[in-house]
Amino acid sequence: MKNNHIKYKALMFSAIVFLAFGCKKTLDINVSPNNPLIETTTPEVLFPSAVGSTAGRVGGDLTILGGIWAQYYTQANASNQYKTIDSYALTRNDFNGSYNELFSGALADYQLAINLAKAKSDWRYNLMATVMKAYTYQVLVDLYDKVPYTEALKGVENLQPKFDDGYTIYVGLLAEIDAALAKDYSSIALSSDQKKTDFLFGGDMSLWTKFANTLKLKMYLRMVNAKPAEAQAGITKLYTDGANFLTTNAGLAAFDGTPDNSNPFYEYNIRRLNTTTNLRASKTFTSWLTTNNDPRVNYYFGTANPTPMNQGDYTATATQQPTYASATVFAQTAKDPVWFISAAESYLMQAEALERYYGGTGALAMYQNGVRAAFTQVGLATTSVPASYLVYTGTFDQKLEKIIVQKWASFAGSHSLEGFFEQERTGYPKTSAVYSTDASYVAGQWVYSKNGVTSGLFPKRLVFPASSRDRNSNTPAEVPITTKVWWGK
């Protein structure tokens, strides 16, 4: 019996010892074997991820949004997918995915890459990530007018970041780009493995310089209505400093076309939907292309004679519009590129800048370069550019219209959102007083969607998303979708 008592005591004692000392170590198993600790990440893994996020969204569902609103294509009448876009009936519950991914996917990764790069004075990743951060932020500002910036991306330090007005953000971003450009990012080349992480330019830092300058030009041009003096000062400084601008397309052009590694617009609209024919040619765009005998119609629609639908006329029945059943589908492939800024866009922006601030000196060449680059971009010879396109005469407004309309025609599919933004900034293409079924309709003019729910007013922005509205008490009061953003015309 006595022996037994000793045994119990020993047993109990060892149990207590086990609990007291064994516990801590035995319980120390809470580091995930599935995901690396955040401290182990590097700009080399963060930067390409963030670029993927930007491309996935700007080149994906935002290209669908931008392309419908820029009237390249419209919702088919035999399906449903994009009715709310085409009728301007978007609410706070729509496009949350893009807001979420651009912030918590793209911008958070750019910011951490910048912080890590700065910590080790790696000014190459610092520049690349800063420029892409600015590019991504600009898309958000242009869509929402106001988003968090000065208090954003701070994690637990600020769970309710305030919204900054668009101009403040622009100014901040331009300063960030300038600071990154001021560093020595070119004396040490990226290693061959690092070059692979640069999907845009393969580590060519001179192209990054051009991209940075072109982005600055784009941002200043956006301000011409709201902040004309600042826009002029910024652009003339670029020219004074002898800035070089892009002469090549900047973006992602090497998708391998396999599932989960394809052009995001294709992945979304074709591969992952059971109906691949949701987006049909819009008469707004096809009428302009065919009127001008523009050979790009084959590239955009796969045929020289597309059968279009009128914009937003998806409720038409087969009796009302018998041709809609065979309306041409917007042509897409899994390997299509996503352009952030195209060469054509770069040239056409320079043409506008030269018109605005240098009396048009050199603008013609830039304009024609732009038009030709837009054809090269879709694999056409520059000789196939219709002669009428190269004519560049008239008043400033007439020239601006030519510049912007040519830009609009170059964005379809690869960069659709920009076509929508530029119309809001400049008013070109012009809006039509009549619907596209009317005999007096002028080819290429934007028409108010047949099923529009905004009383004849075109959409100008997205309303603040639910993922901000529901979670952040600093979200501003809702602004109607038809109110222009700060730089709008």
Binding site: I29, N35, R92, K154, L159, T258, Y268, N274, T275, T475
Partner: protein, 1056 residues
């Protein structure tokens, strides 16, 4: 594991060899009331330790020495008897019921047996007979509707699918609400490995063979489960399995054959046929054509210059006739035997179940082996059990289609107009019904997805335990238990590749020029391993302190180690159609792997002090240390106490009709830690969600890691549940009427919530402790025995449950937590509301109360979602009726759930295709939304004169074109009344039974889920089904899932 096996074999061996002693007395114990044998009667030798108990046939066998004088017989609810030992080796005993008998013993927390009367909280126990009356394949089939406060539903209409068990409602907003399953003292894994919204391979608790179950104790409240600490907050189901009984070899056979078919199917409108926009269009998947006129019409593709004809009229029972009758076989054999020192038990069970879809691609096969042994040697005793479960589940894709990969059967079958005979399409390779020429390009032949796509889940699972006991003194014993549960499963999911041939009907050759997207096909191979080891060491004491006080209790420690490893690899786009290997593609396979591992230490103690056998105070406490909590903050204490007062024992009620009265009160705290890996921040492999599809790294040969969207925290504590429970049990008229009422009030606070945060912070969620939910409820069980004679027994059990949940707090800045959603409908937790309300857009009204419509005549929807109601029922009632006449018995169980709403994705699709009866409003003629106005730019309202045209009627019913009205047709009343179970059994007379050498035999015919009555506005689907798992998110509803199954069967049980 090897050790476990070894010990088990030693035990069984030992048990068989240990039989040798003086003389053996055998006999049968029967009830004076019904002459039926009484199982579980304790048989003891007077004045000596040890003893045995009767088996399920009331038989016992006990070795007695020559000095033994008498045997004592005692059992729950019966007056004890002492019988002298004479010269005969057979003693048959008839026990009479005793209303004052209070000795019923049940299994409580940590497997401790306690007299029911000492419990200060409500506890329900179900016996084997109740669990197995209708031969269900899982332990839950026989429990539905029988216990107040316990909600059991089959979420799946497929064999082997998941069962949802929720005790006392939902309280955890984003954590688990699953009860803990404990089998013979060891926690059992109840994960739903391998399952998702499209594939339901069942929850692991379904693996237990119900034939082996002796009893199930259901611990609902926190005081009852406090000894389980951080795993006890959602209640505990304690399963006790059968063990070997002393006596000669006993063989129990049971066999059941069940026919399965679909229980309830969609009721469709029968006035309008194929077409769209009011026009007959033979390539349409909708019922938006003209009115049925019975005329012959050609339909589908023209193939080889021929086309099919159909009468343009509604086909009755179209869906039901397209489904088949399945079969379910349930066979079990159990062998047991031993002497009073050692016993052994072996059983083998086999289930084969084939669902109501053609082919066996919806089927479930399971083999259960159980081996148990127990032995005693002096003060030592040991027992062990080893269970092996092998199962194979095949499941047909439910929910939404995986676009571009393959289609979903339930989406396809819903898109067949009411005038097309579905069952004819079964010949899916026929030239009219094949990939090229199926009648519509908007969907696929549903039979294609049955025969060409599929899934298979195979698991091998071993669980069991070893128990060592040492009885140190008559009042103190020690127990060590080691348990293990190891599951090793593989899953395979595949879709065949197909594409309409260029130029064919479905490649644009139809009247509408529409093409169906090709299916690339895919293969996904998965491997899931789960493990759980549980050790505990207890010291148990039980001492009569003096003539007034007695004390019993335990002190112990527990160590639990569990986890899982999942590896999946898949490819898209098959090279060779119909060959399902991950190398059969030009695309590279993509793999993901995930491990999860957690540990828990617990130290606990419990003591019950009894006073004069009528007042019992129990105090328990447990301290847990969890690996999933922040290290500096990982240790928590959970106290509980309860009081039971048996008034009828303390006070003389003999002059009143009251035969028993007990009052109980308890308070308990439990908790729950959280999932592993929520403390340190991490990066994740980059996969950019595109909305549809992803962009997944590596791309362009470059790997990517992205900051995880979840911001972790090292500053949180476990969720804590505090619960007060009050109850009373009263019986009248010699127990003819019994009422057991319980009130509980529990608060779950400090909920660990991945708080959604503005993505502008860089993250989309943040782990915090916040949010609380209060659940209050009443549980009532009434038992009435209107007739009780020797030949006739009538027993009614009525249960009533009313549960109110209320979200009392959410994190600052958050007015709701979204739990699930479909399109614009959201299932949310909102402060001040029950846990789980469905919100969606609705109409807006002018100040004078008229419907505001837009320029096209459609109602303008609200910018804010409005509540369509809670998913929590107003009340739940169950009625179990048992009627016995001589050897016949008839029983049935009704289950009524009243109130609540659910979202139906099936209704969504039926509205889209115009098959829902609600789409025939105004005979589909043009109409102006009644009492509607248009708002002018100047803010005034004018009467609306814009009609919804006939051609646009379809737009009126779909959420992309009419959000204001769509959701009212999709959010349906959750109420139902079900005849859950009905059985008619007959105990064969001894004369017949004896001829085959058996002791007892019974035959039964039975049915489960026999009749379902749904709410008036729900013509669509049984509200219990869901493809959103088996926790809170599933309460939202369903998204195109399988209707439930109905079972009819017959069984035979024989004991030798």
């Amino acid at each position: 594991m090897k050790k476990l096996l070894q010990s088990l074999f030693i035990l069984v061996f030992f048990a068989v060899n240990a039989m040798a002693q003086d003389r053996t007395i055998t006999g049968t114990v029967t009830s004076a009331d019904d002459k039926l044998p009484i199982p579980g009667v304790s048989v003891k030798i007077q004045g000596a330790a040890g003893g045995t108990s009767t088996d399920s046939n009331g038989k016992f066998s006990i070795k007695v020495s020559s000095s033994a004088k008498a045997l004592e017989f005692s059992s729950i609810g019966f007056a004890a008897q002492t019988r002298p030992i004479g010269s005969s080796n057979v003693i048959n005993v008839v026990l009479t019921t005793d209303s004052k008998a209070l000795g019923e013993v049940v299994v409580t927390a940590l497997g401790v047996n306690k007299a029911t009367k000492t419990l200060g909280y409500s506890q329900s126990t179900l016996k084997s007979a109740e669990v197995n009356a209708s031969a269900p394949a899982s332990l839950f089939g026989g429990l539905q509707g029988k216990v107040a406060g316990v909600n059991i539903s089959n979420t799946s209409g497929a064999p082997g699918g998941s069962t949802k068990v929720i005790l006392r409602g939902y309280s955890s907003i984003t954590g688990s609400n699953q009860p803990l399953y404990v089998v013979d003292g060891v926690p059992l894994d109840n994960s739903t490995a391998g399952s998702d919204n499209n594939y339901d391979f069942g929850n692991n608790a379904n693996d237990i063979d119900p034939n082996n179950i002796e009893s199930i104790s259901i611990l609902k409240g926190s005081a009852a489960t406090a000894l389980y600490g951080s795993r006890g907050s959602n209640g505990v189901l304690i399963v006790t399995t059968k063990k070997g009984a002393a006596g000669k070899l006993k063989v129990d056979l049971s066999t059941a054959t069940t026919i399965t078919n679909v229980a309830s199917v969609y009721k469709l409108q029968d006035q309008f046929g194929q077409g769209w926009d009011g026009t007959y269009i033979p390539s349409e998947n909708g019922n938006w054509g003209p009115k049925y006129d019975g005329q012959l019409r050609s339909w589908g593709a023209i193939v080889d210059n021929s086309q099919l004809l159909k009468p343009y009229s509604f086909i009755k029972n179209n869906v039901r006739d397209a489904l088949t009758t399945g079969i379910e076989l349930n066979n079990n054999i159990a062998l047991s035997g031993g002497n009073e020192n050692s016993t052994a038990y072996f059983s083998y069970g086999n289930i084969y179940s084939n669902g109501y879809l053609p082919s066996d691609n919806d089927s479930y096969k399971r083999n259960n082996f159980t081996l148990k042994g127990a032995t005693k040697y002096g003060k030592f005793s040991a027992d062990a059990s080893l269970n092996y479960v092998g199962k194979t589940t095949k499941f047909i894709n439910q929910g939404g289609a995986n676009s571009g990969i393959g289609s979903s059967f339930y989406e396809d079958i819903l898109q067949i107009p009411g005038d097309i005979p579905i069952k004819d399409l079964q010949d899916y390779k026929n030239k009219f019904f094949n990939v090229d020429n199926y009648f519509t390009p908007y969907a696929e032949n549903p039979y294609y997805s049955i025969y060409e796509n599929g899934s298979r889940y195979k698991s091998d699972r071993i669980y069991g335990n070893i128990n060592l006991n040492y009885k140190a003194t008559d009042w103190l014993s020690f127990q060590f238990q080691q348990g293990a549960d190891i599951d090793n499963a593989i899953s395979k999911i595949w879709h065949n590749k197909n594409a309409p041939s260029p130029g064919s009907y479905n490649a644009g050759g139809n009247i509408e020029g529409s093409s169906r997207a090709a299916d690339a096909g895919d293969v996904i191979d998965g491997s899931v391993k789960t493990f759980e080891y549980d050790s505990k060491l207890n010291a148990l004491f039980n001492k009569e302190l003096n003539s007034h006080f007695d004390l019993d209790g335990l002190v112990g420690v527990n160590y639990n180690d569990r986890g899982s490893r999942v590896l999946t690899t898949g490819i898209e786009d098959l090279a060779i159609p119909g060959f399902y290997q991950i190398n059969n593609s030009a695309n590279k396979p993509t793999s993901t792997s995930a491990e999860s591992h957690r540990r828990l230490f617990g130290a606990y103690a419990s003591a019950t002090l009894g006073y004069n056998k009528y007042l019992y105070l129990t105090v328990t406490g447990r301290n847990d240390w969890s690996s999933t909590l922040p290290q500096d903050n990982n240790n928590y204490f959970y106290p509980a106490s309860s009081l039971a007062f048996i008034a009828s024992q303390a006070i003389d009620f003999s002059k009143t009709p009251i035969s028993f009265l007990k009052i109980r009160a308890s308070y308990g705290e439990t908790g729950s830690d959280t999932d592993p890996y929520r403390v340190f921040n991490s990066a994740t492999r980059t996969s950019v969600p595109l909305g549809f599809g992803t962009l997944t790294f590596p791309i362009f040969g470059v790997p990517g890691y992205s900051i995880s969207n979840q911001l972790n925290s090292n500053n949180f504590k476990p969720e804590r549940v505090k619960e007060v429970e009050l109850g009373a049990e009263i019986r009248f008229l010699q127990d003819r009427i019994g009422i057991d009422a319980t009130y509980y009030n529990k608060l779950r606070k400090d909920q660990i919530i991945p708080l959604p945060i503005d993505p502008a912070t860089g993250y989309s969620s943040y782990i915090v402790n916040f949010g609380s939910v209060r659940n209050k409820g009443i549980e009532l069980a009434v038992n009435i025995k209107p007739i009780k004679t020797t030949d006739i027994d009538w027993n009614l059990n009525y249960t009533f449950t009313k549960e109110n949940s209320k979200v009392t707090e959410l994190p600052a800045g958050l007015d709701k937590v979204v739990l699930n959603s479909a399109y614009d409908a959201q299932f949310v937790a909102r402060v001040g509301q029950p846990l789980g309300i469905i919100e969606a857009p609705t109409r807006t009204y002018s100040p004078s109360g008229q419907v505001i419509v837009d320029a096209n005549g459609y109602p303008v929807y609200s910018s804010e979602n409005v509540s369509f109601g809670s998913t929590v029922p107003d009340f739940v009632m169950g009625l179990a009726n048992q009627f016995r006449y001589k050897d016949f018995s008839l029983s049935f169980t009704l289950d009524w759930h009243k109130g609540g709403v659910f979202y139906s994705g099936t209704a969504d699709l039926l509205n889209f295709v115009g098959a829902d009866a609600k789409t025939t409003y105004n005979d589909r003629r043009p109409f102006i939304v009644p009492n509607s106005v248009q708002k002018l730019a100047n803010g005034t309202y004018v009467e609306n004169t814009t009609p919804i045209t006939e051609a646009n009627t379809d737009d009126f019913y779909y959420h992309t074109s009419n959000k204001a009205d769509a959701y009212a047709n999709r959010i349906l009343d959750r109420s139902f009344l079900k005849l859950r179970e009905a059985t008619l059994s007959y105990n064969l007379p001894k004369s017949i039974v004896g001829k085959i050498g058996a002791q007892r035999a019974s035959v039964s015919v039975f049915g489960r889920n026999l009749v379902t009555w749904l709410a008036k506005n729900n013509n669509t689907i049984d509200p219990e089904v869901s493809n959103f798992g088996n926790d809170l998110g599933s309460e939202f509803g369903e998204f195109r899932t399988a209707p439930p199954v109905r079972f009819f069967g017959a069984s035979l049980k024989v004991s030798f």
